[in-house]
Symmetry: C2
Subunit: 601 residues, 2 copies
């Protein structure tokens, strides 16, 4: 069975040493609660919960899956009990506002915990995970009464939430939804329609489920401008706020999926279910994006957690498994063969996992600081800056970390050789679970259009400049630091090129909008590598300063990993840069009819 230790030392490096979270927290209102001692205690407790309560259920949950019987869904054995512990531990309320029963700690802290949960049991993590988005939508757009009724219960964790967006005929294109909301005399609405792919849509972990549902009012405008958001509880709250009458929303069936078997992915039928409008009519898409942005970063963290889990277990295997001799001569002379970690290509795979996981952790925590500032920052200029940067980084966090997360979990399988394909070892489950992260909450292609089209080009490149200026400043400051030349020089070049490539695509796009879509995914991946290069350079700076002390080995390994990232992963930008510049021509030339002439008769 796979093992897992939360990377507490690495988190300390990123949070305390690199990004100075102690000062960051001290500046947030109420942040004094998040003292280093408190933070450490929470991380250690979270690590224990993930390892002891969730990890043992990951493989059994995958094998068992969920069961739909008489309209009720049973989660795999042990899931309910783990959820009870989670609620009793106070985890759901960690970073929620005190006025709704929360502990008022910074959001970033919840994101660290989330990595540990995703690393040990993604399918389980999706039950409480969806609640965050639902809670956020209510917090920002709900009425006071809705907050009192639903938000407090979500914060407490006794109820969970869902996001009901997708329908059989539309996912990305929500303007096409058919679910209807008909006003009734008491001000509520009757919601009717079918939603699919609803994670945690029905289950036995919590006493009630709060569905956030996109639907159309009778006279709504066409398309995405005519979407409204509704809250539709599974049980309508009674006068005391407890689950009362069963509402007309039921699980029609469960999907059979490639992975995350332990999570109930439901077809939800709304049959004149009673719902309540959240926010203004026809403004549901904006409200939905509130949920969505939180969820997108959450999915990026899933990618991070899965690659850390895969890395730790393939490392253990590579140290243990003996096969062949090192090319340069035997290393373990007393053994019949050397442990496979001596082989350069095995090291390449392990270092790929390590560099992406540790770099991904830096990216997530870098982004998490902005989330804190956007939510609670006291300085308007600072908040605006964080908001711009957060907008830019959100699609990168979501898509880049899930793309490389899928690669890294696959490297984990590859290190195991044939054994990686066998379920018992648990490595292939990480791949199957990781596969969904490239798809849900907007595919990589959708994130890429958001990044290049909405964030970068629609702002005339201004949003990008917010970031490239920061990178430029770093490169200038470290320009004459000989210890960092190997990092700063390529970083400065890439940073300049990033701007140039953006300009070039922008110019082409003025003549042909298809150029945006043609460049988008390569642009996103390119952006991800440069972003990680910036963070790895900062890590290298810190590590090089800390060599020679009592933790010399830790900092040396960090520096070695930075070097590996620059020498063996960053060159991928050479391919992406060329492909961005290649333009739309070779994509659009072939007619849709002619794609299949090799096999169509």
């Amino acid at each position: 069975m796979p093992d897992y230790q939360a990377p507490l030392r690495d988190l300390r490096f990123v949070m305390d040493e690199m990004l100075d979270f102690p000062s960051h927290y001290a500046r947030l209102p109420g942040g004094e609660e998040a003292s280093p001692d408190v933070v450490n205690a929470i991380l250690e407790e979270g690590a224990r919960f993930a390892r002891e309560a969730l990890l043992p259920l990951n493989q059994s949950g995958d094998r068992e899956g969920c069961l739909l019987e008489g309209g009720e869904v049973k989660a795999p054995k042990g899931f309910k009990e783990a959820y009870r512990q989670y609620v009793e531990g106070g985890w759901p309320s960690l970073s929620a506002e005190p006025e709704f029963g929360g502990q008022g700690l910074p959001h970033s802290l919840g994101m660290v915990l989330s990595e540990m949960i995703c690393a040990t049991n993604l399918a389980w993590g999706m039950y409480p995970g969806l609640s965050h988005g639902a809670a956020d939508a209510l917090r920002h757009h709900g009425s006071d009464e809705q907050k009192a009724t639903y938000l407090t219960k979500l914060v407490e964790g006794v109820w969970t939430g869902t996001m009901c967006l997708t329908e059989p005929h539309c996912g990305t294109d929500l303007g096409l939804i058919k679910t209807r909301a008909v006003p009734t005399v008491d001000g509520s609405y009757e919601i009717s329609g079918t939603k699919i792919f609803i994670s945690a849509g029905e289950h036995d972990l919590a006493e009630n489920i709060v569905h956030l549902v996109l639907a159309k009012l009778p006279d709504a405008p066409e398309g995405s401008k005519g979407i409204s958001l509704f809250v539709v509880p599974k049980f309508l709250p009674d006068a005391d706020g407890n689950p009362g009458e069963r509402n007309g929303v039921t699980c029609g069936s469960l999907e059979h999926k490639m992975g995350i078997h332990g999570n109930a992915t439901c077809v939800m039928n709304f049959d004149a279910a009673r719902g309540f409008l959240v926010g203004p009519p026809n403004k549901g898409l904006a409200c939905m994006f509130t949920m969505m942005n939180v969820a997108r970063i959450g999915v990026g963290i899933q990618g991070l957690g899965l690659m850390e889990a895969s890395f730790q277990n393939s490392l253990a295997y590579a140290r243990d498994r003996q096969q062949m001799r090192a090319l340069s001569g035997p290393k373990a002379v007393d053994k019949p063969a050397d442990p496979i970690i001596v082989h350069p290509d095995v090291r390449r795979m392990l270092l790929t996992q390590k560099a992406f996981a540790e770099g991904g952790r830096m990216l997530v925590m870098f982004t998490a600081q902005m989330v804190d500032v956007v939510e609670h920052g006291q300085d308007a200029v600072e908040r605006e800056h964080a908001e711009a940067l957060l907008g830019l980084l959100t699609p990168i966090v979501k898509a880049f970390l899930t793309e490389v997360g899928f690669e890294a979990t696959n490297e984990g399988v590859q290190v195991f050789g044939g054994h990686g394909f066998i379920q018992e070892w648990g490595m292939e489950q990480l791949v199957r679970d990781a596969r969904i992260t490239r798809l849900y909450e907007g595919t990589t292609g959708v994130q890429a259009l958001d990044l290049l089209g909405r964030k970068v080009l629609m702002s005339q490149g201004e949003t990008l400049k917010v970031f490239t200026r920061e990178i430029h400043k770093f490169c200038k400051a470290e320009g004459d630091n000989p210890a960092l030349t190997e990092f700063v020089e390529p970083l400065a070049r890439l940073n300049t090129e990033w701007g140039e490539l953006t300009m070039a695509v922008g110019m082409k796009a003025m003549n042909d909008r298809e150029e945006v879509g043609a460049a988008s995914v390569d642009y996103l991946m390119y952006s991800g590598y440069v972003t990680l290069a910036y963070l790895w350079a900062r890590a290298a700076k810190l590590a090089s300063q800390s060599l020679g002390g009592s933790e010399d080995a830790f900092y040396r390994a960090k520096l070695d990993t930075a070097r590996f990232f620059y020498q063996r992963l960053l060159p991928r930008t050479r391919a992406h840069a060329q492909m961005i510049q290649a333009g739309a021509g070779s994509l659009m030339a072939i007619s849709a009819n002619d794609f299949g002439l090799g096999f169509e008769i």
Copy 2:
């Protein structure tokens, strides 16, 4: 349910127009049997068999899996009946020698059929698939009596074969095997030990199973020089050659795997099983490579089949599924949204599948010609040339086609969005089935060492030159063809660079052997892209000559795909070239102890 049409038009392009198979067959002894009419009839019949008999069992076989009861394995429903049809159709004997009951047709023809089988039902295809390797080992190394007893049955298809190499503690490093062979008075051996990952090790499709087993004689030298090959039948043939007494080889358990659920992957226990030495004692590794090389090309064909299947179905979905409007304005104005094939990024994914599948088909058939020549060629010089080129291309076919096969089947899932993750659509099964192809018969890392270490560097680069000279000749001949400049110029550059990179690694390796392993996988991928670039340039030449005729659309699509390959896939060589040159330093620096300092306490 996924559909599939064998790509007969594309096969005609590759076989008849591009690689002139009619002349190739005419020059082989007995090749006159393989007239264009016969070949066409066989391909059409094979296409029908794959589509009608195998495709309908692919998803059900995946869901059902295999069942071990009382030592007997039951394959999924319908598998046995499909195998009966396969044998009755004469398919197992297609390219076997007439003296053993074969039809004497060229091997390349069997390889085309193999693509169709892998595209429609890989798990099923593994039952007869392993017989080829076993038959080849017997044909080359077996005694006349062994051939008469076993080979004829394998050719007829009434018995199937296995390759029993891997043991729990060793796969790649076969020198470590523990299975023992003790001579008995009658000249046979008692084989005892445990073999794992034995595909089709036990099943109910055929009346007997012929295991080819690696084991050690009592006084065998240490390591790989002390391995011998044995034939161990499930039922010992009686005096009439029919299955007689049950031998001491049994299936101990079935593996639970990520994919190819319909194939029985067995733990095989040999308990003083009666076996017969094949080839000379202690020369088993050489005999094993006979099986292995055939099997390696076979696995490359699996990658090809799976990507073709994925491509066809994602194409159908992309034409049907309506979502969003084209960035440049609505295309299907009468519909609520445009079919997603209008979006450049969806086209990028489809063209990636198409370019790899069609390019992979060229590579397989190019290699197939060499297999024919090596087996049956009449001219010694020609045979030697083919042998060298085949040695070079075998690891590329195996590893490159399975690496890009995994990518392409994943693109198929991505085109489907969230639906790709749902089992019902069949796209995720192709990914799960494809995952094993990067592992078995030698992982990508093992193939890469074979290519760079054994094939290229051990020959002082001579084996590579056999191929680069051919590419150089093509570039020179087409140098002043303006229609091909966009292909020939980059190809010539890459071809030169290929030699330079090889030389550079070779020089470094003289000081440090680890440099070979450090460069190997990037070198293999680089080699794969250049090889496909050469074949795509040849295809482009042909297509550009054929424009304007009655099949203008077909040739135009071929040219468009060549252009896409050059503009959007070939730039990946820029990354691989840099990573090859980066050397071993950043891989070897970090100590095995320090990899885990971020999480180890």
